[in-house]
């Protein structure tokens, strides 16, 4: 666990210093301590730091959400987007992109973010409603419902793409690939009220998730209110994922692979897996984003591409190295 913490600190502290623009450290410290304005300091404080924070939070949240869902849905292929949240978020984003006149700010949110957030929350609400049905809905039903929502949203997106004028398609594709370009702290802080309660809700489930992973009847016998844990996990993953998707788009891979990597490296005790997933997911996405904004400088690669290119081989390595605990 200390290793994960150290990795996070190193990545968080180091990442802002790298980028397409070489920054003078003296310029930054002068601006900070002696109030001598300099463009390097502006880049550092208003571009690099918010971006690194966003990458870390998004990566960490997706990984924690994935870890919890894999247990509750009893499916190793579960990931935060399997519940249809990303699909619903994408529909929201695509609808608003297709109406260029609506590209405006609503409070702290850009219209695209706001509408994808609305889509996500609508979807989370539907899942939560399904999960708390007094009839007792099985986890398989919820899984299938999520997959169905994703397929429906996919069709809706194709339909919108078919109708709109072709030059808007670029903007849509760009959103779907995921990206972490923010300026300043406005969006970031606007999403914290969603992200933090979601994460907290999940972090408190560590022991209960172990129990669930060990079998539902045994968990009930041990005193776990299984239905309530399931509801809390759906709500927590829903909130955290909605926040992540609306800001950064559907960034794949992190939520699926990081939890497995953590379990391979550190065992299956979810009191450890959850915080470790947060650290590793955050550090991983931050590093991927670092590549995204440097390899093809001065332009940028969508980070969603990098996560798979870097993460795929690394995960294969972990997969082949240790074959225990699964």
């Amino acid at each position: 666990m200390a290793g994960y913490g150290l990795l996070s600190v190193v990545v968080l502290a180091g990442a802002p210093f790298f980028g397409s623009e070489r920054l003078g450290i003296a310029n930054i410290t002068n601006a900070l301590f002696s109030h001598i304005p300099h463009v390097d300091a502006d880049i550092f404080f208003y571009h690099r730091i918010p971006r690194v924070l966003l990458a870390f939070l998004v990566g960490g949240s997706l990984a924690v959400a994935g870890s919890s869902l894999q247990v509750v849905l009893r499916n190793p292929l579960a990931e935060p987007f399997i519940l249809g949240i990303s699909g619903a978020g994408a529909v929201g984003a695509v609808i608003i992109i297709s109406v260029p006149g609506l590209s405006i700010y609503f409070g702290p949110f850009f219209s695209v973010q706001l509408f994808s957030l609305l889509g996500c929350i609508l979807c989370v609400g539907a899942i939560y409603w399904l999960a708390r049905s007094p009839l007792g809905v099985s986890m398989t039903t919820i899984l299938l419902a999520g997959v169905t929502v994703n397929i429906l949203c996919g069709a809706a997106i194709l339909m919108i793409r078919y109708i709109v004028s072709p030059h808007l398609l670029v903007a849509m594709d760009r959103w779907m690939m995921g990206g972490l370009d923010v300026v300043g702290y406005r969006e970031l802080s606007a999403l914290l009220p969603l992200l933090l309660p979601g994460l907290l809700l999940l972090f408190l489930q560590g022991q209960a998730l172990n129990q669930l992973a060990f079998g539902e009847e045994m968990a009930m016998g041990h005193g776990v209110n299984v239905a309530s844990v399931q509801k809390q996990v759906f709500l927590g993953t829903g909130l955290a994922t909605a926040a992540a998707v609306s800001l950064a788009g559907p960034i794949g891979f992190v939520g699926l692979i990081i939890p497995h990597a953590v379990r391979r490296l550190s065992g299956v005790d979810h009191r450890v897996v959850l915080p470790a997933s947060f650290c590793l997911g955050g550090a991983f996405l931050t590093i991927c984003d670092l590549f995204a904004r440097t390899v093809v400088a001065p332009t940028e690669m969508p980070v969603g591409i990098i996560t798979a290119i870097i993460g795929g081989p690394v995960f294969f390595r972990i997969l082949l190295k240790r074959n225990r605990n699964m």
């Binding site: 992973a213 009930m220 041990h222 005193g223």
Partner: protein, 270 residues
Amino acid sequence: MDRKILSVQGVDYKYAGSGWQLNSTSFSVAKGEIVGIIGPNGSGKSTLLKIASGVITPDSGSVFLQEKDIAKMKRREIAKILGYFPQNAAGHFDYSVQEVVAMGRFPHLSGAGFLSPNDMDVVGQCLVRAEVEQYRERYLSHLSGGERQRVLLASVLAQEPKVLLLDEPTSALDMQHQVKFFTLLTELVEEGMGVGVVTHDLNLASFYSHRVLLLKDGKIIEEGSPKEILTQGILEDAYGDGVTVIPHPTTDLPIVLPRTGLGAWKAKAS
């Protein structure tokens, strides 16, 4: 009356979409007794145990745990009093023996779920009692079925319950460990616990139960001491004519034998 820890009163249960049902069934488990629950396959033993432990809610009737209605209790409160040992517990991640036993402390934990030194002491004692101390670092997937059942018992004991409900806990144990398992149950009830145990082994039920419940077709058809219930007539009524009951040579408790097979019949005929 005040010795009763668990009392199931007139519960009915029907599985959706099937004709089978459990019919207004009542039983109780008191301090210091082992209640053996027997009956042929599909007679409702497991269903009854799940209702008694609150894992499923009966369609009507109620379950009282220390005179409190189980329907109005939180799962954690229930788990502090009642330990439930399900028939099949298999998770999709592989935990170590110590981790599994530590899970039994759940009802006593708070916050993010880390164990106090006192919790660890209890876990240590339960590992010793169930004789799985030597495997504490091993992973559950590396243990035999019988060893796993003893680990699960240790995990349930770690709840420090006052009543235990066990669903075929010795189905994978060899004879020596079956005897040890039931001897441990005897020790536990002597310390004041109450135990309800579902078993297919009628001899274990005979030798270790204070009372026996015999279920058939979702009803308790007989209830009494092993000597009263495990008779040729009653068992033939419940199980058909496949059994032979004889008295134990030294204790006079009933022994139930399967009727001799085809080969033996032939030998006798010739």
